[in-house]
């Protein structure tokens, strides 16, 4: 058994955001294609947490949905435990499906408001036919509720009777009910208050230890990511720009964009310090810049950056970076105080 649980190989996903056919014909406009994800590759080992960070529109949520099979990739493949998801037979896919689950961002939208909590949590069990006896299912749901810090009486309630944090616990209980190995978490705490976020992050860590879970964790919050991840991938405009161990990413960020994100983290310890504001905004993904998509905002950009898209190259400090300046050693690694 290989140590790699999930491999994402050169995945791209495009969305057709054209106007309706008739409008296009009348206005003589071509189709508009949005490249939400453009050639992303990474692997996740068993038991680790890989986080993908980036600003809105960088394609991190799209990756999560491609991995879960909600979107079919336009190119590339997702390989789960050695099986290519696209080539697997229907029954094989059904077998694989119960081994991974997803936790969503909005705890108010991810639970069906008309269903009771017990039925919500039991849905994966019923869908995969894991148990058929009603009493057995009830017992399993009771146990799951206790595991996520709720009480068995909550089975009879409806989602609206719970607070945001409690709903996210229900969401986690549902994800765990088919005994999965792999959880895709799409911004699971970004809709929650900090104190509740701490509860959920602690819970997720406890569960990971207890069940040996593997996480793909999507977030825009670097502080949260630094707390929960083993490895971190940084995304910008549909591409992965840097991936490395958490320690390396936060202590010696190489890619200029990673460095920029770091300097934008509000630092509680140094009250009153000046943030170094980064110029510019994320360009329109419908019309991304040529070459390295970060070049208009990058202080190190030169002509090569404008013309040629950089490839991911392994770096001696660990991990991989897609940056011409790093490759040409124009960027000297800086060591940030931890």
């Amino acid at each position: 058994m290989s140590n790699v649980l999930l491999e994402v190989r050169d995945v791209a996903r495009e969305f057709d955001v054209s106007k309706p056919w008739l409008n296009r014909v009348i206005e003589r406009q071509p189709r508009t294609i949005l490249k939400a994800v453009d050639g992303v590759s990474f692997t996740i080992n068993r038991g680790e947490t890989l986080s993908l960070v980036g600003e809105s529109g960088c394609g991190k949520s799209t990756i999560a949905r491609v991995v879960c099979g909600l979107y079919a990739p336009s190119r590339g493949s997702v390989i789960f435990d050695g099986v290519d998801m696209a080539k697997a037979s229907t029954s094989e896919q059904q077998q694989l499906r119960k081994r991974f689950q997803m936790i969503f961002q909005d705890p108010y939208a991810s639970l069906n408001p008309r269903w009771r909590v017990g039925r919500i949590i039991a849905e994966p069990i019923v869908a995969h036919g894991l148990m058929s006896d009603q009493n057995e299912i009830r017992k399993k749901v009771d146990q799951l509720l206790l595991q996520v810090g709720l009480s068995p009486q909550d089975q009879e309630k409806f989602p609206h009777e719970f607070s945001g944090g409690q709903r996210q616990r229900i969401s986690i209980a549902r994800a765990l009910s088919s005994n999965p190995e792999f959880l895709v978490c799409d911004e699971p705490t970004s809709a929650l208050d900090v104190s509740v976020q701490a509860q959920i992050l602690n819970l997720m860590k406890d569960l990971q230890r207890e069940f040996g879970l593997t996480y793909l964790f999507i977030s825009h919050n670097l502080a949260v990511v630094s707390h929960i991840s083993t490895r971190v991938g940084v995304m910008y405009l549909g591409r992965l720009v840097e991936i490395a161990d958490t320690k390396r990413i936060f202590q010696q960020p190489l890619h200029p964009y990673t460095q920029m994100l770091q300097s934008a983290i509000p630092d509680l310890k140094m009250t009153g310090k000046q943030r170094t504001p980064v110029a510019g905004e994320v360009p329109n993904p419908l019309n991304p810049p040529s070459g390295c998509t970060f070049h208009p905002r990058c202080p190190h950009a030169n002509d090569r950056c404008k013309a040629e898209a950089p490839k991911m190259i392994e770096h001696p400090l660990g991990g991989a970076v897609a940056c011409h300046a790093v490759e040409e050693k124009r960027i000297v690694p800086i060591k940030l105080a931890a």
Binding site: E55, V194, L222, P266, P277, V278
Partner: protein
């Protein structure tokens, strides 16, 4: 401290509902000095946004100010008729809201919206107003302001739109700005830009800001003083460095510990068990008492029976009986 620009005395905001009266803001007092940035931080439902809305007279019905006073430069503004209040909004108090898209009218150019605000409140000619609008846009960092002034809100990106909203809030040179989650809808890198901008403008123009947010990081970088709210009450108020590094109220302590920090290698975050009470079930005594881990240190049943008011605690003020014993 000099005479306060804004003084809120025992403000109470209530919502009559069919299940009874909900007190969303309960007996809050605070002051803001001219040019000062006061951060108001709290979790959702703590009443921080309502406090801001009450001050600018924009409480959504059926919400209403039940008691208390709001004084701007010593003049009561909480009981003014609608027309009077409208004149104060914009002229003396500016507002910045969370979602820049909804605070701008999508049908008018931003130039028209800014000049209209200027013309309503200041005695200048239309040409002058337009010139001022361009200056304002330049000041908030919008490139090619002369050209962009005739654009519509949808032609701006999120960060640029928030800059426009800020220039709109500043248009009539108010003395106080209420900023309700001004950076929440923005990406981190844009957040930093907007915070820097707000700070710079306040310093240059001497504008005071009440910064309402749930993000302690934003407060740490921007505010001079901070008020921590819990269940409609102020739990702790004091200089920002003190509240962050040396919090006195057990809730503030828990809140600070719950924030993950880059480079912090601890395995678990400090967590406050339980959740904030719903408004219809606020405990008697200290609202935080069911979740408080230090309740046992206070003699008797004081925490569960008697509500603490703000009392000096270290270099801040905290509403906690722990500090009553020491004095």
């Amino acid at each position: 401290m000099s005479t306060p620009l804004l003084e809120v005395k025992n403000l109470k905001v209530e919502f009559p509902t069919r299940r009874g009266l909900l007190t969303a803001v309960d007996d809050i007092s605070l002051t803001i000095a001219p040019g000062e940035v006061l951060g108001v931080v709290g979790e959702s439902g703590a009443g921080k946004s309502l406090t801001g809305a009450a001050i600018i007279g924009l409480l959504e019905p059926p919400g209403r100010i039940a008691s208390g006073e709001i004084l701007l430069n010593g003049r009561r503004i909480d009981n003014l008729p609608f027309e009077e209040m409208r004149k104060i909004r914009g002229r003396e108090i500016g507002a910045i809201f969370q979602d820049p898209l909804t605070s701008l009218n999508p049908l008018y150019t931003i130039g028209r919206q800014i000049t209209e605000t200027i013309l309503t409140h200041l005695d200048v000619s239309p040409e002058e107003a337009r010139k001022r609008a361009i200056d304002l846009l330049n000041e908030v960092g919008i490139p090619a302001a002369e050209r962009r002034i005739d654009h519509y809100p949808h032609q701006f990106s999120g960060g640029m739109r928030q800059r426009v909203v800020i220039s709109l809030a500043l248009a009539a040179q108010p003395k106080l700005i209420i900023a309700d989650e001004p950076t929440t809808a923005l990406d981190v890198s844009i957040q930093a830009q907007i915070i820097t901008l707000i700070k710079k403008l306040c310093r240059e123009q001497g504008t005071a800001v009440m910064l309402v947010t749930h993000d302690m990081g934003v407060i740490a970088e921007t505010a001079d003083r901070v008020a921590v709210m819990y269940a409609g009450r102020i739990a702790e108020i004091g200089p920002v460095a003190e509240v962050i590094h040396n919090p006195q109220h057990p809730y503030t302590v828990g809140l600070m510990g719950a924030i993950p920090n880059v480079g912090d290698t601890s395995e678990r975050l400090t967590q406050i068990d339980g959740s904030m009470p719903r408004l219809n079930a606020i405990p008697t005594g200290c609202a935080f008492n069911p979740r408080c881990t230090r309740k046992s240190e206070v003699q008797g049943q004081r925490c569960t029976t008697e509500r603490p008011s703000l009392m000096p605690a270290g270099k801040t003020q905290a509403a906690c009986w722990l500090h009553a014993q020491k004095n």
